[in-house]
Structures are given as C-alpha cells and as structure tokens.
Assembly symmetry: C2
C-alpha cells in the first residue's frame, strides 16, 4: 500500500545494475508482477527503455536478479549452532516470510529450475538433510521432496496474491471468496472440500507451511532425533 511516489530524485546516480534491480523490486512489491514493465521501470529511473538493456540482458534476467537479491541475504543469517531440524525449520520460516512479503518471488523462483536463486535453497536444504544423517542414496529424494513442497507453497502464495490484486481484494477477503465457493460444491461429490471450507478461511498459512515441512522431515527420518 506504500505509494512511494518519488517524482525523479535519482538524477545524480549513474544507472547501474544494482539501481535497476532495486527499482524493479520496488515496482514488483508495490504493483505485483504485472507492475514491472520496461516502460514503468525506465520512467522511474528517468531514462529510456533502451538504457536498461545495457545493464540487463532481458526481462527474465532482470526477474532472476531481483529474485536473487531478495533471497540470497537470507542464507547469511542462518546460525551455525543449531540441530539440522532446527536449521531446516529456521530456513523454511525465513523463506516463507520473504515469499509472503514479496509474493512475486514465489513465481519467479519456480521459473528458474536449477538456476541461481533456487540452487541456494537446494544447497541449504541439502546440507541440513545430509547432517540429519540421511543415507547418501536417499538424500536426493528427500531434499527434492522438501524443495518441491516449498516451491508449491511459494507458487500458491504468488497465485493468491496475483488474483487478490486483480480482484482488488485483500488477502482475507480473497480467502473468504474461496471459502464461499467451496461451501457451494455439491456435498455428494465434494465432501472433503465442503468440510474444509471453514478451515481455509481461518487457517494460519505460516503455521500450516511449517507443519508440512516437519511432516516431510519426519517422513525422511523415521528415527527421530528431536
């Protein structure tokens, strides 16, 4: 909701990749994924669209850079003295918080399989799952299960935010909408969906997410070590 209506105070600073990425992040945060256009971006930076292409290859390069700029600082903040389970929990929580406050990160992250912002998440999870004592043979399966789950939640978060913005609703009004739709499905064919209509309106996204992470970690290591 912050408007950040800066008319044109960045005359002095020469255009740089960092400035461009920072401005892109502001646009994405304020107006959603559709808010980032080279038109809007060049206006905010007081240049022409062509200037941006000197510092950035294309739009997907810009999105990747914006995503990485938001995500990479997270992994410097992880305390080293924690059990693997705690570390996974902490990293997941931080990831959720940034995806929650920058919903576009969820969809950009998914769109870069095996590339830089995502590999940071992979590596972090991989090291902790290894430290958990999972046998080398199972490490890939367990880490990628965890990663796919996180990407799924991230993508849903992005989709929710995008739809809510299009419908000009806030998050809770949007969930009310979903809840109402679920309560109208025929009881006969959709008993489960019907039963969950109330739940979806009142649940805590963050808590649900972390419970899912724990559930997967528990499945990965039947011999629990707290």
């Amino acid at each position: 909701m912050k408007k950040t209506t800066i008319p044109s105070p960045r005359r002095r600073s020469a255009l740089s990749r960092e400035h461009i990425v920072a401005a892109a992040i502001e646009l994405l945060d304020d107006h959603g994924e559709s808010g980032l256009t080279f038109q809007a971006l060049s206006k905010r930076l007081a240049t022409g669209p062509g200037a941006i292409y000197w510092h950035v290859a294309d739009k997907s390069d810009l999105l990747a850079a914006a995503c990485d700029a938001v995500i990479s600082p997270l992994f410097h903040r992880l305390s080293a003295d924690a059990t693997p389970r705690e570390a996974i929990h902490a990293a997941s929580g931080m990831l959720f918080d940034t995806i929650d406050s920058h919903p576009w990160v969820g969809s950009v992250l998914t769109s870069l399989p095996g590339r830089m912002p995502m590999v940071r998440v992979l590596e972090c999870l991989g090291q902790q799952v290894t430290a958990l004592g999972v046998s080398p043979n199972d490490q890939w399966t367990h880490v990628s299960t965890l990663l796919m789950y996180i990407l799924g939640v991230a993508g849903q978060n992005a989709a929710n935010a995008k739809l809510a913005m299009e419908m000009k609703l806030d998050r809770s009004a949007f969930l009310d909408d979903v809840s109402l739709a679920w309560s109208k499905f025929p009881e006969e064919d959709y008993p489960f969906t019907r039963r969950m209509a109330e739940r979806v309106r009142t649940h805590d996204d963050r808590e649900d997410f972390l419970t899912g992470v724990d559930l997967i970690v528990r499945g990965a290591l039947p011999t629990a070590r707290t």
Copy 2:
C-alpha cells in the same frame, strides 16, 4: 513433435466452446504456453479473434477450461477397490503422466488456487487421506502438504519444458545443461549441489515424484498399514 498441420478442415462445424478448448489444447501441446494466442487460435479455427470472445470470457478462462478438460477425465478412471495408499499412488501417477505430456497444465493448475481444476485434485486426495484414518484435525495439514508438493513438481515440470523449448533442447539435453552448471559450482560453498550434479542427469522424474508422495503419506501416518 506431431505437427498436426490441418489447413482448414473445420469449415462446417459451428464454433463452440468445446471446439475452441480442443484447439487451444492442441496449440499448447504443440508449441507450449507461448503458442496459445488468440491470433493463432482464430487462424486455426478459421475465424476472427472476436468470435472466440463470444464463447470464452478471456484468456485465463480459456486456460482454465483447457486445463480442466485435460484433468477432469482422470478422476473418473480411479478404481474404487483399492487401499487408500494405492489410490493416492494411482491418482498421483496419473496426474504425473498428464502433466508430463501436457507440461503447460503444471503452470495453469498453479494459477487457479482453490478453483475448479485444482479442487478436483484436492477432493481426491482429501477422500483418500480421510479413508487412511487420519484424524479430522490433521486432515487439512496432510492433504495440503501433499497438494503443495504435487503443485511444486507440476510447476517445475512446466518450467523445465518452457525453458527447454526456448533453448530448443529436448528434455535430456536440458538436464545435461543443468547438470553441467551444477558441477561448476565451487565445491566449498556448494558441496551438496556438486554431489547431485550427476544424479540430476540420470534420475527418473516419475519415480522420484512417487517416492516423494510415499514419503509424505508415510509422514502423515506413522502407523503404516501397507
């Protein structure tokens, strides 16, 4: 790789929602997500772009209809006489196969949170998890964990296919590319990614996916019943 170069054999048939959706699916299958444009679609249907809007609200409506047309038949093919675990396994396998042969489904599915194609998956999983004997309090968590995992894999599949198509590589060449990139990360900071470089090139996507499903189901129900 099927070209399906039908010049214009559909003169007779009056335009209908079903025809439009079927043509849209063909375009998506043959040329990927970017292949579906109202321009290309109206050319294939031998009409103007405006005609399509009489039967379809807008592009997202069209995508939702195409996605649902591909997904909904799946859930009529589930045999009733199976244990919950088998049913979840079977449904997941079918879902994977359709997402694998129609990669765009992965991204469209994610973009419709709580809406029609996705609710079918939710309901199917929900009924089986309920039959599994999970307590009412835990049903939401376990089902949504499973669903988010499936959506994560679906999204990655779509992203892989999209990138591979842009780079004009087939799937295995694309994975070779990722594998090579992973093998070049600095050993010091990315030991796990490095170790998995070979794995990512040779793994079986479908098998990994189903192993992940089992892992989550196992976590959901510590008291295994086969």
